[in-house]
């Protein structure tokens, strides 16, 4: 399972990559995509939608089940990765390339885990 060093993580398995103080990309971690299995559908918000930190902003569906994705940030959707709508399997293949949305005007954020903390967190979750 891959955990990239230059990203921040949440306990609900999203990754965050800040481009500057108020803009960031958000996606799903390698661990999350692996547990979900083959992803066949994604449901994303639209541009200009306001997201609230800790609330559901998207869902991803595998053949087995649907899973909610939580926003790590409060802000506005500046861009949606529309390529994923047509080829959601990219999330399985390249989880850290497959960003879901770009969020701007960030006013609030969750407490993030560092790559080391997230790695340890997942290891613990796997044991349970």
């Amino acid at each position: 399972m891959k955990v990239l060093k230059d990203l921040l993580y949440t306990k609900t398995h999203e990754w965050v990559k800040f481009e500057d103080e108020t803009t960031a990309l958000v996606g799903l971690t390698d661990y999350a995509q692996d547990s979900l299995g083959g992803i066949v559908f994604v449901n994303f918000p639209e541009e200009d939608d306001e997201l609230i930190s800790g609330e559901v902003f998207a869902d991803v569906e595998s053949v087995k089940a649907v899973s909610d994705v939580y926003s790590p940030l409060t802000g506005v959707v500046a861009e949606v990765n529309e390529e994923l709508l047509d080829s959601p399997e990219t999330i399985n293949d390249e989880p850290y390339e497959a960003w879901f949305v770009k969020i701007t005007d960030i006013t609030d954020k969750q407490e993030f885990l560092s790559p080391e903390e997230y790695g340890a967190f997942v290891e613990k979750e796997q044991e349970e």
Binding site: G37, G38, V40, F41, S62, V63, V66
Partner: protein, 364 residues
């Protein structure tokens, strides 16, 4: 506390993701994942541990008479080795379970039932039996492996030449790879295939023999996830979904296995008039965006016309689809409906079942 099938350790060895199902710990998938496992069975071959299924023997001079009374299908005229599918209904015509009964010989039948219903079925049979008949639950001693896919026959030929040549036929007391077993030409995937029954102690050896025999044909182990998507794609009903104690076999589209011309059977009064059907099982193909799951309400405009019973993304056909029980008026092919998917409207269209048919595919 979940029970383990005789193949539990084998599943761990092959990285099965274990999960509770019908009281057993079973692999939902292996490392390849549901989609690859599904397509392996459509294109090549796969093996499944289905040891959780229940097996009940029915013997005695009045065995046949009891099957005729307990089950909706007609069991007259069967040859030794022949199998027949049937629902089992309660007095109100609702479905207690669906099962397959094999004729092993005169007064000797072997019945395979759903794992989650096994105890209920066994009790029902005992409570409603008449005359000289004995029902015996032999599930715990019996392991079952399904070998499915277009390459299944070729794989099995490497282990034995004693193979049933007709669909829904079985050979009892035979051997494969030197292991005593029963082989039936049956399955739950929409592909050609076989189901092998053996004593639990032989299960892991049989599994390994099948895996190595199938290696060059691309056979892989498959979990319950693929078993579910395969049967759904092939439009096959699953107890507790398409039929239940609230959905009768006619509504579930199983009229072919309800033989109202035979003498009395439990539930007959409520299953005799097919014209009285007020709702029926249909296929729904998603025409909008989204994936429909089970237990979601189906609407035409704002009027509720039914509910879904199973739904997923069909891995081989490559589109999302569902099965649903709809009011007769809404069940016509081509009818446009909306499905409420967690508050979101997903458009779908009524299509005929099955979604996938091997015959249709072979014919092109």
């Amino acid at each position: 506390m979940e029970r383990k099938t005789p193949l539990y350790e084998t599943h761990l060895k092959y990285h099965g993701k274990m999960s509770p199902f019908a009281g057993y710990l079973l692999p939902i998938q292996y490392k390849e994942g549901v989609i690859k496992e599904h397509n392996a069975v459509r294109n090549r071959a796969g093996i499944f541990d289905v040891s959780h299924m229940g097996e009940i023997t029915c013997t005695g001079t009045e065995a046949l008479k009891n099957l005729q009374w307990l089950l909706t299908n007609d069991f007259n005229g069967m040859t030794d080795g022949q199998a027949r599918y049937s629902p089992m209904c309660s007095e109100d015509g609702m479905t207690i379970d669906d099962l397959i009964a094999y004729k092993r010989g005169e007064n000797d039948y072997f019945i395979v039932v759903n794992a989650s219903n096994k105890d209920k079925d066994f009790k029902w049979m005992q409570d409603h039996q008449k005359g000289d008949v004995q029902f015996c639950d032999c599930s715990d001693q019996t392991a079952m492996i399904a070998l499915q896919g277009p390459k299944a026959l070729g794989v099995l030929k490497k282990l034995t030449s004693d193979i049933p040549d007709k669909y829904y036929h079985a050979i009892f007391d035979t051997k494969a790879a030197g292991i005593p077993c029963m082989i039936s030409r049956t399955g739950y995937t929409g592909e050609d295939g076989y189901e092998l029954y053996m004593e639990s102690t032989y299960a892991s050896k049989m599994w390994e023999e099948l895996l190595s025999a199938g290696e060059e044909d691309g056979l892989i182990p498959c979990g319950l996830g693929a078993r579910d998507t395969l049967r759904l794609e092939a439009g096959m009903p699953l107890y507790g979904h398409e039929m239940s104690e609230k959905i009768n076999p006619l509504e579930a589209g199983l009229g072919f296995a309800v033989e109202v011309k035979k003498d009395d059977f439990i539930g007959k009064d409520h299953l005799s008039d097919k014209k009285e059907l007020t709702r029926k099982r249909v296929g729904l193909k998603v025409t909008g965006r989204g994936i429909i799951r089970e237990d979601q309400d189906v609407f035409i405009n704002d009027k509720k016309v039914g509910f879904t019973t199973s739904g997923t993304y069909l891995p081989y056909l490559g589109y999302p689809a569902a099965m649903a029980i709809l009011d007769i008026g809404a069940a016509k092919k081509g009818t446009k409906v909306n499905v409420n998917v967690r508050g979101r409207n997903v458009e779908a269209e009524v299509v005929s079942l099955p979604f996938y048919s091997r015959k249709r595919r072979v014919l092109g």
